[in-house]
């Protein structure tokens, strides 16, 4: 008999006024009892709408049933066969628009907390030393993956499982891509990223750090080294700015820079050699997950933080949980507000940001109502830092000049939903192909591309 409780089983978390002063993980995870209670809310529907909402096709009711039965090893096997990085997606997926958005229990109450259960199972496996690293016998074929973010790692894991020799080339000194430099420790502990990468290494994946493809090796040279297929997963690219006066003042950061200093370079730690400004009042411009991450980091470094977003609350692109957590932690949302200029003092340090109020007009190309400035509503906000979280534009460094490789109008690698490009032996996915999107879409793209690479290599034999 399913548990007909209408609400999700709550997950313990650090109190808001405690956690907004530390970088430890916010959500603490379910106990076995809580997980089983939540798992029993699943109706095990025949048509499994949740699975259709999952970019990597996890057999959701199947693994949840195993949790309810208390057979966590079986649950982990089902989960990790479909998803190479379950501890990560369980923490960072926008479940409300994917699996949980389709859950039948969501019609009259809250959906089953699939994400929390996924996380629970993955964490249980790690704590108990349970891994799923079996691979098919080596097939003697070599594949290369450019970038070790969610798309690259997933693709590498899938290929290794099929028996390929896989080399992942990472430009940074640490693997993980956005999982390492972008998403903060309090949302995704870096020990988990390390653990997932270590699991891939156990499967035989070779991760080569400090390799900036396009500079130290070109894609053409990678093929000359004997690799038969290459997957481009080099990530989103160059941070965008607003092109307003004052954006190069001291104290104006791109969210990428701010987050990289904190997450990758550990600038939040007392003795870290990499510096970061400790500001008093910060405006974070943007409404996506990256904006929430930057705002919550600034808060933890002691600042009074305002999110400045030109549309209204309903259009905030961030995960619902991130917005909720940010508000709980004391971050102020200045909605329907847009910066027009940033002003500095005599030393070029940021002193204020001038904003204008907005109202929503007719829907634009994205289907969302277009924000329109209200004439004469300018006002000044005293701040000593501004963080621009406006998205990115493609960085073609890794693939520029590759013969025959077509790009999109915007400059991304042109790839179809299977990851195939204009070159039969080159595949692409994740933000490098789509522009900035989510971790789970990148993982889905990595998985699809691995299948396409396998098909391609087999077709040559």
């Amino acid at each position: 008999m399913p548990n007909m409780q209408m609400q999700k089983t709550p997950m313990p978390e650090q109190a808001a006024d405690v956690r907004n002063k530390n970088f430890k993980e916010v959500a603490l995870g379910y106990t076995l009892e809580q997980a089983q209670n939540e798992a029993r809310r699943c109706l095990n529907c025949k048509n499994k709408p949740c699975v259709s909402g999952c970019p990597v096709g996890i057999p959701i009711p199947g693994f949840i049933e195993k949790v309810a039965e208390g057979d966590l090893a079986a649950a982990y096997k089902l989960l990790s066969d479909a998803n190479a990085l379950p501890a990560i997606s369980g923490r960072v997926c926008p479940q409300e628009t994917q699996c949980e958005g389709k859950c039948v229990r969501g019609i009259k109450g809250e959906p089953v907390s699939i994400g929390r259960l996924e996380r629970f199972v993955a964490d249980w496996a790690a704590e108990n030393g349970v891994t799923n690293v079996e691979t098919a016998p080596k097939n003697g074929h070599k594949c290369a993956v450019i970038g070790s973010g969610p798309a690259g790692l997933t693709c590498a894991g899938e290929l290794a499982r099929m028996g390929y020799d896989v080399t992942v080339f990472e430009a940074f000194h640490t693997p993980g891509g956005v999982l390492s430099y972008g998403i903060p420790e309090f949302r995704l502990p870096k020990a988990i990223v390390k653990r997932e990468v270590a699991n891939l290494e156990k499967m035989g994946v070779d991760v080569e750090l400090n390799m900036v493809i396009g500079k130290v090796l070109t894609i053409t040279e990678i093929f000359e080294m004997g690799y038969e297929a290459v997957f481009i997963a080099s990530g989103a690219g160059l941070p965008m700015f607003m092109k307003i006066p004052g954006e190069s003042l001291v104290g104006v950061y791109s969210a990428n820079e701010y987050l990289t200093r904190i997450n990758l370079m550990k600038a939040y730690k007392e003795d870290a050699p990499t510096p970061i400004l400790h500001n008093k009042k910060v405006a974070v411009v943007g409404g996506g997950n990256v904006a929430m991450d930057a705002a919550r980091c600034a808060k933890r470094l002691g600042a009074d933080v305002h999110i400045v977003y030109r549309r209204s609350e309903a259009e905030l692109p961030a995960r619902a949980e991130e917005v909720h957590h940010a508000k709980e932690e004391g971050i102020v949302f200045d909605l329907l507000t847009n910066p027009v200029s940033i002003e500095g003092d005599e030393h070029n340090n940021v002193q204020s940001v001038t904003c204008i109020r907005m109202e929503l007009g007719e829907p634009d190309a994205s289907g969302r109502r277009r924000p329109v400035p209200i004439q004469g509503s300018e006002f000044k906000m005293e701040v000593d830092a501004v963080i621009m979280a406006l998205g990115t534009s493609p960085n073609p460094m890794s693939y520029d000049g590759t013969p025959g490789l077509e790009k999109t109008r915007k400059g991304c690698v042109a790839a179809d939903e299977h990851g195939c490009t204009s070159c039969p032996n080159i595949f692409a996915g994740g933000d490098a192909a789509t522009g900035a999107a989510t971790v789970i879409l990148a993982m889905g793209a990595g998985k699809n591309a691995a299948r396409s690479m396998d098909t391609y290599i087999k077709s040559k034999q």
Partner: protein, 281 residues
């Protein structure tokens, strides 16, 4: 040899060191004007340094000045030690073409970067005047190497203890006024030196390339920390540069941005010195 091993280390002056690092893939690709980023240890800061030279046996030579805690930690490594990370070559190589007669200006540590640029221009058939400026005679570096990389080497010292008495811009103006017609000038060194070199060449209408060294993290365009304004447009030094048209660069902005962490850096250096002292006692 091990990955990222320091094969050769030289002390050029008490403040400036030179290391040749085993990184064969980087050595095979690096060209004049490009840079690398290194880290000393697992927690280390990412330090960008321009490539000074490469050798066929896989060594990449860089020159550094002990200006802060991280470069001091770098200097504590010796021959046979390994760096934790070494990535490159980054940035776009200096455009080397035969334009006729060029002046290459190097200031202090910038001479380490001016050297490969002068050499490449010289090999491309240009008549190269290399004007190398230092504060004083004791800290003149790379004189022999520079001398063999150009047509004429002009060493300058601010205090007149060696060579021309004055700044590199003074020497350049003297040469221009004596009738030398330059087709292009390359200025590489401290921001102020490059700024004033550009003011001078603007007056004489000589196209001028500068090599910018803003604060950087990833060096691949991901963070935008190294942005600068060139001709009214925002450019990233790591992927669009580091070379830019010097007459279009907003130097004052870069100078301010490079001072962002001045206080932090001063404190870190002090702490590092304390630690060193503590260790010695």
């Amino acid at each position: 040899m091990k990955k990222y091993e320091i094969a050769v280390k030289k002390t050029l002056t008490p403040e400036i060191g030179q290391i040749s690092v085993y990184a064969p893939l980087v050595a095979a690709k690096a060209k004049a004007g490009q840079f690398i980023i290194l880290r000393v240890d697992e927690e280390g800061e990412r330090i960008p340094l321009t490539v000074s030279s490469t050798s066929p046996d896989g060594l990449v030579t860089v020159i550094y000045q002990k200006i802060g805690a991280s470069t001091m930690a770098l200097d504590e490594l010796g021959q046979g030690d390994c760096l934790h990370d070494f990535v490159g070559p980054l940035g776009i190589p200096t455009a080397v073409e035969n334009v006729g007669r060029v002046a290459v200006l190097g200031g202090g540590l910038g001479c380490a970067i001016a050297l490969p640029v002068a050499r490449a221009l010289h090999q491309a058939g240009n008549q190269v005047d290399l004007i190398a400026g230092f504060k004083t005679k004791d800290i003149v570096i790379l004189e022999e190497e520079m001398s063999s990389a150009c047509t004429d080497l002009h060493v300058c010292t601010d205090d007149g203890t060696y060579g021309y008495h004055g700044f590199v811009t003074g020497k350049l103006e003297e040469l221009i006024q004596s009738g030398v017609k330059y087709d292009r000038v390359f200025a590489i060194g401290p921001l102020l030196m490059m700024k004033f070199a550009c003011k001078l060449t603007e007056k004489y209408d000589i196209p001028t390339t500068v090599s910018m060294n803003p604060i950087m993290i990833d060096g691949t365009g991901m963070c935008g920390c190294c942005r600068l304004t060139v001709g009214g447009e925002v450019k990233f030094a790591c992927v669009d540069g580091p070379d830019f048209d010097g007459h279009k660069v907003d130097f004052d902005e870069v100078i301010a941005r490079n001072a962002t962490y001045k206080d932090f850096e001063a404190k870190a250096k002090e702490k590092h010195l304390c630690r060193l002292k503590g260790g010695a006692n």
